[in-house]
């Protein structure tokens, strides 16, 4: 026997799956060591989509970082937005008005449905059922069109805001959505006729990627991936945010913890989401959609700037007497339009100036003046205009403009401290951890992304199975690499 083994010395086949591969859902790279077609080892490599979102968040104010969250889990950007704004609201100590909370619950659940539809579509396609894919996309299209109706964007929505939502929803949106909730349960049945009791589907999913409840908790799984193992953990139930404590819904759980149970969980979850949306539409209270906290939220523009400038472009000018030559503006200017030596008054080269007001905000000695209608004028003329006091109306308008600019750019004055707030996004528990040092930008922003945690469990789920099962397992943990790599 030993001799036979010596003659037929076998080696493990090493296959590099991804980052360009039709089934790795983006840019996941798996290095598979296989004995024939059986998986001996799986090593996931991540980071191909790393954009430094956490670090970027530290250099942007709390308002400005919101669109970054769209780019994390681009499949359910609405849920990510909500996760972010809920966390920031808690840090600010403000609360969104009731109507905004209900609207956020509605759009959050819409995003859950659209995410689960995309998941089902790709999961089924990976296993070979191509028709489910197109059926799911039919309904997903409807949801995306509804998103477009309320905010103009289909994928990267940025609709929720700190303190509420960007704008109220139109009535036709509610009508169309209500019709959707009426039709959607029959559409789910349609998907299920194709795969739910299909022998091939059962053969491919039952008993694949089994993980026990205890192990699932230890691996840090959340969302449907955890609930498939029978752990009824759902942030919406355990730490309700928005309007989740005011609606009635169940948290579906599985028993075996295999791919089929996780599939069932998500299918049932879609029905629950549908139920939540219906209840929210029925209970939707009237009222404002933005919290009345002008120090912490972005109010409508006419509220923040009661008087606006007549349409004329401004210029910036350094008042020689006030300038101490500290060099702050010189370093801050993005266009490098400011010149001057240390301890001597600086000058602005007007041709290069972008009018961005960065220098205005930076200057500590009020040497920088804003000259409305000063664009294109010579330095002498500007000096003259800067010396003469402005008409009161324009002075006031300038003040509002600058305040508004400063508010956006620097952010609100935030209380010191740190906070971790988790929300239930379609993929699991999305947590935002902020450390605030009292400025308008977080000292540290950390995102607990469910996809990142779930990608780690891939080897545990797929070792011992066949190549085809790795595909099913990638599908069942429902990861998006944009969120995983951030």
């Amino acid at each position: 026997m030993e001799q036979v083994e010596k003659i037929f010395e076998t080696r493990e086949l090493n296959v590099n799956m991804g980052p360009q591969h039709p089934a790795t859902h983006g840019v996941l790279r798996l290095v598979l060591d296989m004995d024939g077609e059986t998986i001996a080892r799986v090593t996931p490599y991540i980071g191909y989509l790393h954009r430094g979102i956490e670090k970027l968040g530290e250099s942007l104010s709390y308002f400005q970082a919101l669109p970054l969250t769209d780019r994390m889990d681009y499949v359910s950007s609405m849920s990510n937005n909500i996760g972010y704004v809920v966390a920031v609201e808690k840090l600010f100590g403000i609360e969104a008005p009731e109507r905004a909370k209900f609207i956020r619950t509605i759009v959050g659940e819409m995003s859950r449905i659209s995410n689960h539809l995309l998941w089902l579509a790709t999961h089924a396609l990976d296993i070979g059922a191509m028709t489910v894919f197109l059926y799911c996309f039919r309904e997903r299209e409807w949801i995306l069109e509804l998103f477009e109706m309320i905010c103009g964007a289909r994928l990267t929505v940025t609709y929720p805001r700190v303190g509420g939502v960007r704008n109220d929803v139109p009535q036709e949106f509610l009508d169309s959505l209500y019709q959707f909730t009426e039709e959607f349960p029959s559409r789910i049945l349609e998907y299920e006729t194709l795969i739910d009791q299909n022998r091939i589907w059962l053969k491919r999913t039952v008993g694949i990627g089994v993980i026990s409840a205890e192990e699932a908790v230890n691996w840090g799984l959340t969302g449907p991936t955890l609930r498939g193992s029978g752990v009824p953990y759902d942030v919406r139930k355990h730490a309700p945010y928005d309007a989740y404590d005011k609606v009635d819904f169940e948290v579906p759980i599985g028993t075996e913890g295999d791919t089929y149970d996780r599939y069932r969980c998500r299918m049932l979850e879609m029905r629950q989401s549908n139920k939540i949306i219906r209840q929210c539409i029925e209970k939707l209270p009237p009222g404002p959609v933005m919290a009345d906290a002008p120090k912490f939220t972005l109010q409508p523009k006419d509220k923040m700037m009661p008087i606006t400038h007549p349409t004329q472009e401004h210029a910036f000018f350094i008042v020689e007497k006030a300038c101490k030559g500290c060099g702050m503006c010189l370093r801050a200017c993005p266009a490098k339009a400011i010149f001057g030596e240390k301890k001597k008054p600086h000058t602005i080269k007007q041709e290069l100036c972008l009018g961005c007001a960065t220098c205005y905000v930076t200057c500590k000695f009020k040497a920088m003046t804003i000259v409305p209608g000063g664009k294109g004028l010579s330095d002498e003329k500007l000096a003259e205009l800067a010396a003469t006091p402005l008409p009161e109306e324009i002075a006031k308008a300038s003040e509002y403009l600058v305040k508004h600019f400063e508010f956006i750019r620097r952010g609100p004055k935030v209380p010191d401290g740190e906070i971790y707030v988790a929300t239930e996004v379609p993929k699991g528990e999305l947590g935002f951890y902020f450390v605030s040092d009292g400025t308008g930008k977080p000292y540290r922003m950390r995102v607990r992304a469910p996809s990142f945690v779930h990608a780690g469990v891939l080897p545990r789920l797929s070792v011992g199975h066949l190549v085809a099962d790795v595909i099913a397992v990638i599908g069942t943990i429902d990861i998006v690499l944009g969120e995983c790599d951030r």
Binding site: L13, N14, V15, H21, P22, A23, E37, A124, L125, D126, I127, G128, A129, M130, T131, L134, Y135, R138, L194, I195, N198, I200, W201, K203, R204, L466, V467, A468, D469, V470, I471
Partner: protein, 349 residues
């Protein structure tokens, strides 16, 4: 001179002319069949895309020509002008050879398919065995392409495919033994004639078990969903022809669709009565006898091909080990049992 005079007698001359005419007829027949075959492939893809498109609530090709009718031609031209990429590490002569073997192996089978009572290129007595033999050769094309590409995905696809095709060929062969017993011949034309004379008019009724086994195995033999593991796009990207592009890829494509056509015609000839209609149908609707036989044949073939497409739009894909288990543990025993029963019936009744 005498010798020639002795050889070229009027009889031999007659024979020579006859031979020449026969050759000419065969060449014409080949041209016709080849033309039909290639046209079939072009429009089978169109048919497939339209059928699956409508099943999936979309339209399928619509842009090139009215209702996308010129789409297959545009596709063909595109493939023809595409760059022919050959991997640097590939075993080049073998790499060149593989698609040719694959396509030739499926094309040759067209020679023995009887399209109508008097239209068959080679009416040979071992027709059925000939088809198995040649289909067996097609595996070499698959395996060689997987091997010569020097890519792990292609290699796995090639291995899977060879294992699959070989094991399902057994099931197909065994399922057709029942037909051979009943018809008492391997000649495809004789099988059709025997069916016409039989009580039910087609063997699909008495040989229903064999027909089901044949249908399942035929899907697997041609690497179609749910047995399309060799080219499972979500696992192996494209399987054994992943490294092929341009016209070489088109050859694989051609071969695959012709193999599908062969399997469908085999089903039509061996189980559905070929170009004939069962006697009870013609008795009920006598005017149907005026319709040429080839129409019925093609109708049966395309109904079978439609069935292929229907499956493809409906079911997921099996896993490799499950597929082998179905072949060896279910289909082959059932086919063997069917042979036993058919044999006993033949002896006893």
């Amino acid at each position: 001179m005498d010798i020639f005079a002795n050889i070229i007698t009027p009889q031999t001359l007659d024979a020579l002319i006859k031979f020449g005419i026969n050759v000419a007829i065969i060449i014409i027949k080949i041209a016709v069949v080849l033309g039909i075959g290639l046209l079939h492939v072009a429009y089978a893809t169109y048919f497939e895309r339209k059928v699956i498109g409508h099943m999936q609530v979309r339209l399928g090709p619509m842009r090139v020509g009215p209702h996308g009718l010129l789409q297959p031609i545009a596709d063909g031209i595109k493939l023809f002008f595409k760059e022919d990429i050959i991997p640097a590490e590939a075993d080049k002569p073998v790499f060149y050879l593989a698609p040719v073997i694959f396509m030739a192996a499926s094309m040759i089978n067209l020679a023995v398919i009887p399209f109508s009572s008097n239209f068959v290129i080679a009416n040979i007595n071992v027709g059925l065995l000939f088809i198995f033999a040649i289909a067996g050769l097609g595996v070499y094309g698959i395996f060689i392409s997987g091997w010569a590409s020097n890519s792990k995905y292609a290699f796995l696809g090639g291995l899977r495919s060879s294992a699959q095709v070989i094991s399902y060929e057994i099931a197909i062969g065994l399922s057709l033994v029942g037909v051979m017993i009943k018809a008492g011949s391997l000649n495809l034309t004789d099988i059709v004639n025997a069916q016409e004379a039989s009580r039910y008019g087609m063997y699909a009724i008495p040989q229903i078990v064999a027909f089901v086994v044949f249908t399942i195995a035929a899907v697997a033999e041609t690497n179609r969903t749910p047995f399309d593991l060799p080219e499972a796009e979500s696992e192996l990207v494209a399987g054994y022809f992943v490294e092929y592009s341009g016209f070489r890829f088109a050859l694989f494509f051609l071969g695959e669709y012709i193999a599908m056509f062969i399997m469908a015609s085999l089903a039509a000839v061996c189980f559905l009565g070929g170009w004939t209609l069962p006697w009870y149908v013609t008795k009920a609707l006598p005017f149907l006898t005026y319709v040429p036989g080839i129409v019925w044949f093609l109708l049966k073939v395309y109904a079978f091909i439609f069935f292929y497409y229907w499956i493809r739009a409906t079911v997921p894909r099996y896993r490799y080990d499950q597929l082998m288990a179905i072949g060896w543990k279910i289909l082959i025993p059932i086919a063997l049992a069917n042979i036993l029963v058919t044999g006993l019936v033949k002896i006893l009744v």
